[in-house]
Every structure is written in structure tokens, then in C-alpha cells.
Symmetry: C2
Subunit: 124 residues, 2 copies
Amino acid sequence: MGRNKKFDPTVVLHDIGWLFIKNGYNGTSLDDIVKVTGILRGSLYSTFGSKLGMFIAAFELSLHEEDPQLKWGLLLIAMLEVAPQSTKVAQMIQTWYATNQTPDIEAQIGHALLRHSGIITKGE
Amino acid sequence: MGRNKKFDPTVVLHDIGWLFIKNGYNGTSLDDIVKVTGILRGSLYSTFGSKLGMFIAAFELSLHEEDPQLKWGLLLIAMLEVAPQSTKVAQMIQTWYATNQTPDIEAQIGHALLRHSGIITKGE
DNA sequence: ATTATTATTGACTATTCAGTCAAAAATAAT
DNA sequence: ATTATTTTTGACTGAATAGTCAATAATAAT
């Protein structure tokens, strides 16, 4: 009963995820998110609860999906910016790490960060 | 002529550096910096010009010093948070990378990030 | 001792921030 | 068609933000 959402949360979370990757977590404002998604703050808050809720939902989505760019981008931001202020995010990273531990995992992370910061590109 | 500084900029930059490591760049406010250093904003601005100037000075110092914790902490923050909004910082990282490129550099970066985020500790 | 120069002080500003909420709109269920 | 329920809307709030600046204090150079 009542109306249905006008937007697809999954689509919106992709937009939000890429925005966090571009600007960082603390570097992204809610006005930025409103602008990028076209969804007004009230709707965003009623769906995701808080800015942190938006990050967590986008991060979780990225872990259950195929796009490695999105996943690595959000992982880096989660590790460096968000984990210190959210035990839930810290636990999510822990879980991911426990599941994905390989001999070259550190090199993979380092590679992702070098790519993220633009110091190396594609093949390099 | 005129009075000399009451504080040692090098000491202050260490305090600022550790604060940036703890809270991130965008997560650190000038009130935080004032509190930690005991130096009022006017003096900080007349010495370092801007918040970005404070980061750059602390980062540069860390690259010319011995403390690896400080250096790696600021490198991570520089790569993930600051480089996207400062070409100067991006160049500093480039220069550092060109000079310190080794076969295991990516693993080193990944290791530093895992440590920073508390996912691994000391020996692990 | 005077003075020109520099540093300190901290109140102030204008802007941006995350988050709220009452009203309006839409619609699923009956 | 009515109604109960949900979503949307966007103006609003109080707090925090980076940065400024005129006044004051200190002092190095003369």
C-alpha cells in the first residue's frame, strides 16, 4: 500500500559509489550526492538512513558484484577513510580480507592504490 | 627585525602530520589542528598559508626524515585523499614513486594500508 | 631608547555541512 | 471511490567549516 519508489536503489548506489571513489568519503557532500543521483535528500535519508548508510550500502553492493574498479575503489576508501569511524565498515573489510587472503593480496592493494591516485595507468 | 616565532615549525609539522594520519585530510579540521599544536589559527595561516599548505609541509618533511610510520601514513593519505585535489601533491608522489620504485613497492604500499586500517597488526 | 618589522591573538565572516520534518503527492488495497 | 500507507519535496536548522584581519605584543636593528 502507498506509492512505490520512483528510483532503483541499486542504480542510485552505483552513482553514489562512483562519487565516493571520485571525491573520497569526507570529500563528498550530500549536495554532491543529490546532484549526481537526482534524488532529493529526504528520499535518500528515508532509504539509506545516513551518509554512512549510503556508503555502507554502496560498499556492500560492490562486494557482491563483478565490477572490480568499483570494488577496489570503495575498498580503498573504506580502509583509509571510513573504517576508523565505523566499526561496521571495519568488520566488513576484515571479512573481505579473511575471504580473499592470497599471497599477492598486498601487491593487489598497492596496485589498486597506485592506480587510484593516477600514479600508474592501465598496463604499467 | 621584529620578533621571532615562538614555536618550532618542524615540531608543529610533526603534530599536524600525526593528526592527519589519525583523522585523514578531510577529516581533520583547523580547530583540531589548533587544539593539537597549541598554535592559534592566525599563526598557522601566516606560517603555512592554508590547510593544504600545512599538509604539504608535513608531507615533505616526512619524506626527508627517518620515521617510516609518519612517511607511510602521510603517503597513503596523500595518494587517496589529497592528490585528487592538488597537482602539487600528485607530483610529489610521482617523484617519490620514481625514486623508490622496487619490485616489491606495490606489496609495501598494500602492507602499509592494511596496517593503517588496523586489518593486520605488527607481525602479521 | 626609538622604531620598523614581525609574530600572536582570537573574534569574526561567509560558506558549507549532515540531517530533519511537515506538507503534498502518489498509489496499492479495499 | 475511498482510504490507509508510503514516497517525495525542499525549505529549514544548528553546527561546523576554512580562512581573515585589525589590534596587540614582542623584539631585532639602529
